[in-house]
C-alpha cells in the first residue's frame, strides 16, 4: 500500500463536464424525458367533466380533503390506498432492480431527468465538453459572465416552472396561475414554489451526481437487490484488454487482426465512455456505486465501434454470470419470482379495492363513557357515534335500522332518515335500547344498517358493533 499521500479529511469536488452522445439509449432517454415532462407539466391543465366537483382531471384538494384523479375521488378514509400504492412502488422497484439493475436511476428518476435537461441547457449556451472545460478554467471576463450567467438564468427558469407546476396540482390551475402572478395566491403556494425552485436549481444544476452518490439512500441499498444475474452496464474486459491490455490506435494497431497479433484488446482507449459519464466514472474499472446505469457509455462505445467497423458490445448491458462464465443471465429466479408474486397480489388488491369503492361510508363506534345506561323502564341502553359520508355525485337519502338484536330499538332522535349532499360527511348519535333476557356482563354483536332510498339503486351498507349488557 502506498503511503506517500497525506490522508485527506474531505474529498474535493471533481468537476464533471459530460460530453454529448448519440445512440439508441440516448434516444430512448430523450423519449422518456419528453413523456415525463409532458405528463408533469401538462397534467394540471387537463380538464375533466364531473357532475359535481372541480373540472380539473388531477387535483389534490387539501382544504376539501378530497383527491380528484380523473373519475376517481379519493377521501381521507381511503388513505390505505396510499399505503398500497407505496408498497407497489417499492416492490416494483425491487422487482425491476433485481432483473435489470438501476433502470429507475438511469431512465426514470427525476434527479436524472432534470440533470439531463440542465446539462442540455449548459451545452446549448457554453458548447461541447472541451469548450466548457476551457470556459471554466479561463479568468472571469465579460464573455464568461454572460455565458455562465445565462446558463444559471435558464436553470432558474426551468426550476421555477417545475416549482410552479407542482403547486398547480393543489388548486384550480388556470385560476391559481393568475392569482400567483397577481400576488393573491396563498402563502403556501409561494413558499412551495420557492422551495422547489431552489431545490431543483441546486440539485439538478449544482449538486447533480453528488445527490446520487452521497444523498440518495437507494444507491446505497441497491446491493441488497443485486445478484449474479442482475443486468449491469459493464465492460467486456477479456475482449477490451486482450493479453497485454488496451492500446490506442497506433500505426500497426489499426485492424482487429493486427491488434490480435500484437496481443492488445479491442479497447482503443479513446476515453469517450468516460467523457460522456454524468457521474464521472470509468466503467472499465467495473461496477461502481456511482454508476446509475444510464447506458450513455454503451452508446459512446457503440459509436466508436461502428466507426471502426468492429462489432458492438465492448461496453454493454451484461451480468456478473455472463461476464464470468459466458452463460446467459437467468430471468426466473426465486427472488424475482417472489417480488413478482408480491407485486401481483398488491396490485390485484389495490385494483379490487379501488374498483369496489363504496358509494358511501358508514362507520359506527360505541360510546365507552358510560358503557351502558339503565333506563327508567328497566331496559339497557348503549350509545354509539355513527359517521356517514356520501361519495356519490348526487344527494343521497339514508335510512337507519338495526339487525341482530331481537326486541332491540334503534333511537337516532330526529335523524332516523337523513339526506346527505354530494360529498357531505355527518356525525350522528345513535342509541340502542333493549331488555336483555340475562344480565350476563357480556358484549353481543349488533349491526347498524344504512339503507339508501330506493331511487338511488344502491345496496345497503352494514356496520357491525357490539351491545354491552351489564351483569345483574
Amino acid at each position: 500500500m502506498p503511503e506517500a499521500e497525506e490522508p485527506q479529511l474531505y474529498a474535493p469536488r471533481q468537476s464533471i463536464f459530460p460530453r454529448s452522445v448519440k445512440g439508441r439509449f440516448r434516444r430512448l432517454k430523450w423519449g422518456l424525458l419528453a413523456l415525463a415532462y409532458g405528463v408533469y407539466f401538462l397534467l394540471p391543465w387537463l380538464r375533466w367533466h364531473r357532475e359535481s366537483g372541480p373540472d380539473q382531471a388531477v387535483l389534490f384538494d387539501l382544504v376539501g380533503r378530497k383527491f380528484y384523479l380523473f373519475d376517481l375521488v379519493v377521501y381521507p378514509q381511503d388513505i390505505f390506498w396510499l399505503a398500497g400504492l407505496l408498497m407497489i412502488f417499492a416492490y416494483l422497484l425491487f422487482f425491476v432492480t433485481g432483473i435489470a439493475g438501476r433502470v429507475f436511476c438511469g431512465y426514470f428518476c427525476f434527479q436524472t431527468l432534470w440533470t439531463d435537461v440542465f446539462i442540455f441547457m449548459e451545452r446549448l449556451i457554453q458548447g461541447e465538453r472541451p469548450a466548457r472545460i476551457r470556459l471554466s478554467k479561463q479568468p472571469w471576463n465579460l464573455a464568461k459572465i454572460v455565458k455562465v450567467g445565462l446558463t444559471h438564468l435558464l436553470w432558474l427558469l426551468v426550476a421555477f416552472a417545475t416549482g410552479l407546476t407542482f403547486v398547480l396540482y393543489w388548486g384550480n390551475a388556470p385560476d391559481l396561475v393568475v392569482e400567483f402572478f397577481t400576488g393573491k395566491a396563498p402563502f403556501a403556494a409561494y413558499a412551495t414554489a420557492a422551495f422547489l425552485t431552489a431545490t431543483t436549481y441546486v440539485m439538478a444544476g449544482i449538486a447533480r451526481e453528488q445527490v446520487c452518490t452521497y444523498m440518495c439512500p437507494y444507491a446505497r441499498f441497491q446491493s441488497a437487490m443485486f445478484d449474479r444475474d442482475t443486468l449491469i452496464v459493464s465492460y467486456d474486459e477479456a475482449r477490451g484488454e486482450g493479453k497485454k491490455g488496451r492500446a490506442k490506435l497506433g500505426r500497426d494497431l489499426k485492424t482487429e487482426e493486427q491488434r490480435e497479433a500484437a496481443g492488445v484488446g479491442d479497447c482503443i482507449d479513446c476515453g469517450y465512455c468516460v467523457q460522456v459519464c454524468p457521474t464521472g466514472i470509468d466503467i472499465r474499472n467495473g461496477l461502481q456505486i456511482q454508476c446509475i446505469s444510464c447506458a450513455l457509455c454503451v452508446d459512446a462505445c457503440d459509436t466508436i465501434m461502428d466507426s471502426l467497423g468492429w462489432e458492438r458490445g465492448l461496453v454493454a448491458y451484461s451480468s456478473q454470470r455472463e461476464e464470468e462464465g459466458g452463460e446467459k443471465a437467468r430471468l426466473l429466479r426465486p427472488k424475482v419470482l417472489g417480488y413478482a408474486a408480491v407485486l401481483v397480489v398488491a396490485v390485484s388488491l389495490l385494483a379490487w379495492s379501488v374498483g369496489h369503492q363504496a358509494p358511501f361510508d358508514l362507520t359506527v363506534s360505541q360510546v365507552r363513557q358510560p358503557i351502558f345506561t339503565l333506563l327508567s323502564d328497566g331496559r339497557i341502553e348503549n350509545a354509539y357515534e355513527v359517521k356517514v359520508n356520501n361519495k356519490t355525485n348526487h344527494s343521497l337519502g339514508l335510512a337507519f335500522s338495526l339487525e341482530g338484536l331481537p326486541g332491540g330499538e334503534l333511537d337516532m332522535g330526529r335523524f332516523r332518515h337523513v339526506v346527505l349532499r354530494s360529498g357531505q360527511r355527518l356525525r350522528l348519535s345513535a342509541r340502542i335500547k333493549a331488555r336483555p333476557k340475562v344480565f350476563d356482563g357480556k358484549t353481543h354483536p349488533v349491526t347498524i344498517v344504512a339503507t339508501p332510498d330506493p331511487g338511488a339503486k344502491l345496496p345497503p351498507l352494514k356496520h357491525e358493533t357490539v351491545f354491552y349488557v351489564p351483569a345483574s
Binding site: M1, P7, Q8, A11, G286, L374, G378, E381, L428
Partner: protein
C-alpha cells in the same frame, strides 16, 4: 485488476497496527461540511429570534414577537412563545374564526332549527362535548354519568328530575337548581322508616314485605310523613320540585342497583329517608354566553334523548 483499481480508489490513513492492519480513508465530500456550518448558522439565527439561553433566573427572550388580545381587550405584544401563539390562534386563527362564525349561526337559529339540522347538531355535539367537559363534567362525569349514583344526577338516562324539555334544561343551566328533601330520622320512628322503605322499593317491583309496604303506603300519603306533597300521590314526582319518580327503575339518590340483596336495598333507601338530601346546581347565566348555554342545552338534551 480489481486490486489495482481499489488501490487507486481508496486511500488509507497511513496507520498500521499489528504489522498489516490498516484503515481505509473514505473522506466526506467537502460540501457535507458546509451543511454542518449551515446548521450552526441556523442555530445562531434561532438564538437571536427565539427564547434560547438561560441567564440567571430568566432567559434570553429573542427578537420575535407574538401579538394577541388580553382578557380585558387590550392588545398585548410579548416575546415569541407557544402559549401566546396558542392564544392568538384561538382568537384570530383561520379555524377559530370559522368556528366562531358557525357559533353565531347556531346562536341565532331557533332550537327547533338546530334540532332538525344534522350539520348544526353535529356542531352542537362536538362543541357541546368540550363545553360540558370544561364546566359540567366535574360533577356529572365526562360522559354525563357520574362515578356513583347519589352524588349527582345521571344525565344519560331518560329520567329527568327537573324536566327534560329544551325549555326546562335551559332553565336548569341558566338559573341552577336546589334539590332538597328533609331528613326524617327525628320525625319518624325506625319502624315507620322501615315501612316507607318497603313501600318505595315495592313501587319499582322489588320483593318486599307486603304488610310493611301497605303500612308505608298509608304513611306516604299521610300528613305525618307528607311524602306525597313532593313525590305526588302517584309517587311519580314532579319537575317543579325536582322530586324523583319512585316508580321507575332509575335511582338518583339511593344506589339501589349496586345493592347485593333486598336487605341491602332497604338499608340504602332507609338511609336516604333518615338523612334527607340536599343537592345544589349552580347557575351558569353570566358565566357562559347565550350561545354556549344554547349548545350545552342541545348537548344535554341529546345525551338522554330529551323530552
Amino acid at each position: 485488476m480489481a486490486d489495482q483499481s481499489q488501490q487507486k480508489a481508496v486511500q488509507t490513513t497511513g496507520h498500521a497496527w499489528d504489522g498489516d492492519l490498516q484503515e481505509f480513508n473514505n473522506p466526506l465530500p467537502r460540501w457535507w461540511l458546509w451543511t454542518f456550518y449551515a446548521t450552526v448558522v441556523f442555530a445562531i439565527v434561532y438564538w437571536i429570534l427565539y427564547p434560547a439561553w438561560p441567564v440567571g433566573k430568566g432567559y434570553t427572550k429573542g427578537l420575535a414577537t407574538t401579538t394577541f388580545e388580553s382578557a380585558d381587550g387590550k392588545e398585548v405584544t410579548t416575546h415569541w412563545n407557544t402559549r401566546a401563539e396558542f392564544i392568538r390562534d384561538m382568537q384570530s386563527g383561520e379555524e377559530a374564526l370559522k368556528q366562531r362564525a358557525y357559533l353565531v349561526k347556531v346562536g341565532s337559529a331557533s332550537y327547533e332549527q338546530v334540532l332538525n339540522d344534522p350539520d348544526m347538531m353535529a356542531f352542537a355535539q362536538s362543541m357541546g362535548r368540550v363545553l360540558f367537559a370544561d364546566n359540567c363534567a366535574a360533577c356529572h362525569g365526562l360522559g354525563g354519568t357520574p362515578a356513583q349514583i347519589g352524588s349527582y344526577p345521571n344525565l344519560r338516562d331518560d329520567a329527568w328530575l327537573w324536566g327534560g324539555s329544551i325549555e326546562r334544561i335551559e332553565q336548569t343551566i341558566r338559573k341552577g337548581r336546589l334539590g332538597y328533601m328533609p331528613p326524617f330520622g327525628k320525625v319518624l320512628s325506625e319502624a315507620q322508616i322501615d315501612a316507607l322503605a318497603n313501600y318505595v322499593l315495592g313501587l319499582s317491583g322489588n320483593p318486599v314485605d307486603k304488610a310493611k309496604a301497605a303500612e308505608g303506603d298509608k304513611l306516604f300519603h299521610s300528613d305525618q310523613a307528607g311524602c306525597y306533597a313532593c313525590h305526588t300521590n302517584s309517587a311519580k314526582g314532579m319537575y317543579a320540585q325536582g322530586s324523583a319518580n319512585l316508580t321507575d327503575q332509575v335511582w338518583t339518590v339511593a344506589d339501589v342497583p349496586d345493592a347485593t340483596d333486598i336487605k341491602d336495598k332497604l338499608a340504602r333507601v332507609k338511609a336516604v329517608i333518615r338523612n334527607g338530601i340536599e343537592r345544589h346546581m349552580p347557575a351558569w347565566e353570566g358565566r357562559l354566553s347565550d350561545e354556549e348555554i344554547k349548545l350545552l342545552t342541545v348537548y344535554v338534551h341529546s345525551l338522554g334523548g330529551g323530552q
